[in-house]
């Protein structure tokens, strides 16, 4: 993390607050705090913010906000950040059906790491993964914290179409395809819940700075949840992160 946050001009309608030049939870925590502070304070002229691994892009309307005044406001907010009490990050539970046609590459992952399929599932479901940022497709989250024991290289030849909800592993990362798209991840399972539903009140389920955890379900539960999701009656399960988001116990 930098001693002093950098304020970088990104065109005439955006600026970038850069907090450091590495990917770590400490920086993400600061970005989450700043994001929540800006979102709750509703600063005149700010259109939206985009948190990423080590920076926060602020899109503003130059007809409403003066750049230099805006930077002053943000610097002041940063100074007072320590006094702001933030709610603990949420941990969102992702029910996942592992293996079979839902996760056709789970055997690959097991063989590559000399584990049984059960061990792969147990390892994958034992972590709370930090959502560093979203991007690539609507609702796709870049997660941190996967156990290296199940790391597996990408497929040599990517699939042309992967169904939305597919859970995969690529190198040392794990993730969920939020919508159907091509891709080369090793698919280990699928979730019946929708990360992106444009007509839902909150179209996107996940937010950077929160966490997700995978829960292994069987086919019967999968069908039940899928039906509930389609009827709009599924209740998404989440709980506040116990240690307030400071968790270095990965790998």
């Amino acid at each position: 993390m930098y001693e002093k946050t950098k304020y970088l001009i990104s065109g005439d309608s955006a600026l970038n607050m850069e907090f450091g030049n590495s990917i770590n939870e400490e920086i993400n925590k600061k970005i989450r705090a700043m994001t929540l502070a800006i979102e709750t304070q509703n600063i005149f002229g700010i259109i939206e913010v985009v948190p990423t691994y080590r920076s926060l892009m602020i899109h503003y309307d130059p007809l409403k906000a003066n750049y230099y005044e805006l930077v002053d406001v943000l610097k002041n907010m940063e100074k007072n950040m320590d006094n702001v009490e933030l709610p603990a990050p949420e941990v969102i539970e992702i029910p996942t059906l592992y293996g079979k046609e839902y996760g056709p590459d789970i055997e690959n992952v097991a063989q590559h790491n000399k584990l049984t399929v059960e061990e792969v599932i147990k390892t994958h479901t034992s972590k709370e993964y930090l959502i560093y940022m979203l991007g690539f497709t609507p609702g796709f989250s870049y997660l941190g914290g996967m156990d290296k024991k199940i790391a597996t290289p990408r497929l040599q030849s990517p699939r042309t179409k992967i169904p939305g909800g597919s859970v995969g592993i690529a190198g040392e990362e794990t993730g969920i395809y939020s919508i159907a798209s091509p891709g080369g991840w090793q698919l280990i399972g699928r979730t019946p819940i929708e990360l992106f539903a444009p007509k839902r009140e909150n179209p996107i389920l996940l937010k950077s700075g929160n966490y997700i955890t995978f829960k292994s379900i069987d086919e019967e539960e999968y069908i039940k949840i899928k039906e509930a999701v389609e009827n709009g009656t599924y209740e998404y399960k989440s709980y506040p992160k116990e240690d307030g988001g400071v968790d270095y116990g990965t790998n």
Binding site: L8, I9, S10, G11, D12, S13, A14, N16, E18, N21, S22, I23, T35, I47, E48, V49, V50, P51, T52, Y53, R54, S55, L56, M57, H59, P62, L63, Y67, M133, L134, G135, F136, T137, P138, G139, F140, S178, I179, S181, F196, P198, K199, P203, I204, L206, K207, S208
Partner: protein, 347 residues
């Protein structure tokens, strides 16, 4: 409620407004009109809100049959619009009748036209916008580019026809179609990732628009821009008009369908007032970059906004079409009294 039928979609015709904001942090692109000024002017001409949905068409325009009458306006790049095979003016509101057919004869100046319909296009507002987001298949007409046979509902006239027919924008906002396009840029956010030489290269050379140019971005060809220490960064946000320089060394201008985040160094950003020039540039066009400042860029945005406001004032205060006769009817429908005014316009 009126209707239009797409007889031929052209190369790429989509419903757009000024973009979908508020969801970039979730990976949802902004989308929206590439040439934001032309889109606003088209809507203003037909009496719509600036942000109403309209059609954006590229290089080869569509063939549209009108199932009902409407008032339309075409702005932006000149693809030579014609109504029933007779040329019609750009930047002017034009009345059309049921059975009329709108075609485009081909690209003359610029490459993107905007077709606005009085009352707008009636497609669902998805996450605050009518813009088409092709990759996620949301917004616009069924989340996709138009196809032959599509029938789109257009809105109802919100005002009297005499208020909008014949409206014309005489002021020239942009000179499209010049062979050398000058783009002013502000440096940053990663200008410090380039050598002095690299920055000098960007400002002292001509770049050519390649065939790889679409709503997402414009890949340019020309002198390679030198990095200090690699082209990759930890992914961060991308603003409209950002100029990415990957390790290959040639710039890419990121446009309306750009991804929300990316991992290449961004040397600078095209200023908002010059974005329409990018939107209207086509393969083979030459681009030169000029250094601007944040102050200049902001003043130009304010100037542009003032000019657009002036156009609105001017247009709303003039009734150009001569009214031949006016008839008033007093009707009662379902017990409710209505006062109906019918204007017959000189054609």
């Amino acid at each position: 409620m009126g209707q239009i039928k797409v007889a031929n979609p052209g190369l790429m015709t989509t419903v757009q407004d000024l973009g979908r904001y508020g969801y970039q942090q979730y990976g949802v692109l902004v989308s929206g009109a590439m040439d934001h000024v032309a889109a606003r002017l088209a809507n203003i001409l037909v009496g719509n809100d600036d942000n109403e949905g309209l059609l954006e068409t590229t290089i080869m325009g569509p063939k549209i049959e009108f199932i009902s009458s409407a008032v339309i306006a075409i702005t932006g790049g000149d693809l030579q619009p014609a109504l029933n095979d007779k040329s019609i003016s750009m930047n002017k509101s034009v009345p059309v009748n049921a059975g009329d057919c709108l075609t485009f004869r081909g690209m003359k100046k610029g490459c993107r036209s905007y077709i606005a319909f009085s009352g707008g296009i009636d497609v669902p507002v998805v996450m605050g916008s009518k813009s088409t987001f092709l990759k996620a298949q949301i917004g616009g007409y069924e989340g996709r580019a138009l196809k032959a046979g599509d029938i789109l509902n257009i809105g109802e006239l919100k005002t009297f026809m005499s208020d909008i027919v014949g409206r014309e924008i005489s002021e020239n906002f942009y000179e499209y179609g010049s062979s050398i396009v000058e783009l002013r840029i502000v440096l940053g956010p990663q200008d410090d990732a380039f050598t002095e030489n690299g920055i000098e290269t960007l400002f002292s050379n001509e770049y050519t628009v390649t065939n790889n140019c679409d709503r997402m971005g414009y890949k340019l060809e020309g002198e390679k821009i030198q990095h200090k220490d690699g082209a990759d960064i930890i992914s961060d946000g991308i603003a409209m008009g950002a100029i990415q320089v990957p390790s290959k060394g040639t710039p890419i201008i990121m446009m309306a369908d750009r991804q929300t985040t990316g991992g290449y160094t961004k040397i600078g950003n095209v200023i908002t007032a010059d974005l329409p020039k990018v939107a209207q540039a086509k393969p083979g066009d030459k681009i030169i970059f000029k250094k601007s400042t944040l102050e200049e860029a902001h003043n130009l945005i304010k100037g542009l906004e003032y000019k657009i406001e002036q156009v609105k004032i001017q247009l709303s205060s003039q009734k150009i079409k001569e009214i031949i006769s006016t008839k008033n009817f007093y009707l009662t429908v379902n017990g409710n009294p209505y006062n109906v005014k019918v204007e017959e316009l000189k054609n």
